[in-house]
């Protein structure tokens, strides 16, 4: 989908007093639609929640405990970048 609709990370505060927690991601063409898609997907039919959406590419990450040499320790993506890997065709089924 980042061929067309980019990926956004979603943070939800389910009620006052709590902080925003990462809920997952959504695809959307822009921030306004991302907010709406996030509301529909992560807070369905719930009132009063606060939602933040951030373009996944805007996230700067550091998780030193997670160990892959591909990820430099500073200022790097939260996830592996799709273009560096091919979808493996030869894999097992359940």
């Amino acid at each position: 989908m980042s061929r067309d609709w980019p990926l956004w990370e979603v943070f939800v505060r389910s009620r006052r007093g709590l902080s925003h927690i990462h809920a997952g991601s959504v695809h959307a063409p822009d921030a306004q639609m991302a907010l709406r898609n996030a509301r529909d997907l992560y807070t369905r039919r719930q009132e009063g929640v606060s939602i933040w959406v951030v373009s996944s590419s805007a996230i700067t990450a550091s998780s030193p405990d997670e160990k892959d040499p591909f990820f430099a320790p500073a200022a790097d993506k939260a996830y592996r970048h799709p273009t560096f890997y091919d979808i493996p065709s030869e894999v097992q089924t359940l």
Partner: protein, 318 residues
């Protein structure tokens, strides 16, 4: 260096900790997970079709509402799972291409038709019941994003199964025509539901590796047995029979014995010769193709507006 990384990976597995997206992982682990999670997501999406088939004809407004909610949840579950899969470095668009071209599969239970309203009950009770049996275990799978998606999904699923059972139970205590409808649906969905757990593990060579990686936590046969043991008493409670003359309680084993499963049918359906394989794909591909102009319009609009107002990277709704 790689052996240190592999040792670190093994240590996480052995201490039942989660592997997260930025952890080193064997390429085969990553590849297996991508396929498993993607196919799980595809199953949710394709599963919307047999159930969506009865939205327009649900016989009461309450049933119509719960059915729409159920199918909506399935779309949502697909989205959670595609999201989890994308953390492994794949694009949802590519995964959908693989589904549409037949290179990735979906659960073949959805290649069966929903022929009557009672089928909606049977699908909720048996198909979701089987899925839940599988999914509870996945909440503890080794890959963090997948496990977390499964926790979210499991919370929403139990309502679906109860609704399915309630539909059948109501029919089973209804008019003679309704009772017959319910029994007919159960007769058609029972064996395919048992097949959802997959072939016996001795016919499944990759099971051992999946277990070692804690992607799979129980064998196919174990899960199938668990499902049977839970479901048989439920059928009795609803006054419905199950189409297996060899089904009986085995006191020694402490489990129900079942008759032989027709694995030839399973493989026929998996390979594309089930009742609805072609139409499930056609409908899916058609929705995708017909939606192309809409998706492209949204991209074009975003491009026009980000040029005008500067990159639009974040939004909030308090």
């Amino acid at each position: 260096m790689e052996s240190d990384l592999a040792a670190g990976f093994e240590r996480l597995l052995n201490t039942d900790q989660r592997i997260e997206p930025r952890d080193w992982m064997p390429e085969a682990y990553r590849a297996t997970l991508i396929r498993q999670i993607a196919q799980h997501a595809h199953s949710e999406i394709i599963g919307m079709q047999p159930e969506g088939n009865w939205i327009s004809r649900a016989p009461s407004l309450r049933r119509k509402a719960t059915l729409i909610a159920k199918v909506q949840d399935e779309a949502g579950h697909g989205l959670y799972l595609y999201g989890a899969c994308e953390t492994l470095g794949v694009d949802r668009a590519d995964l959908l291409d693989l589904l549409h071209s037949g290179q990735q599969k979906y659960s073949s239970i959805f290649n069966y038709p929903t022929l009557s309203w009672a089928d909606i009950g049977a699908v909720g009770w048996l198909v979701d019941g089987a899925a839940i049996t599988n999914q509870v275990a996945l909440c503890r799978c080794s890959y963090g994003p997948y496990a977390r998606a499964m926790v979210r999904i499991c919370k929403e699923e139990s309502f679906h199964q109860r609704q399915g059972f309630d539909i059948l139970n109501t029919l089973a205590h209804g008019t003679p025509a309704q009772q017959a409808m319910a029994q007919d649906a159960v007769d058609r969905w029972w064996w395919p539901s048992l097949m959802m757990f997959g072939p016996p593990d001795d016919a499944s060579p990759h099971s051992a590796q999946s277990m070692a990686w804690r992607i799979k936590r129980h064998s196919n046969d174990e899960l199938r047995q668990k499902f049977v043991d839970i479901t048989v008493p439920q059928a009795a409670a609803a006054g419905l029979s199950l189409p297996d003359p060899e089904l009986r309680w085995n006191e020694q084993r402490g489990h129900y014995d079942i008759g032989p499963i027709d694995w030839a049918e399973f493989w026929r359906v998996v390979k594309g010769d089930g009742p609805c394989n072609r139409q499930r794909m056609e409908r899916r591909v058609q929705a995708h193709e017909e939606g192309r102009w809409v998706r492209e319009a949204a991209v074009a609009h975003a491009a026009k507006h980000s040029k005008r107002s500067g990159a639009d990277q974040a939004g909030t709704a308090a």
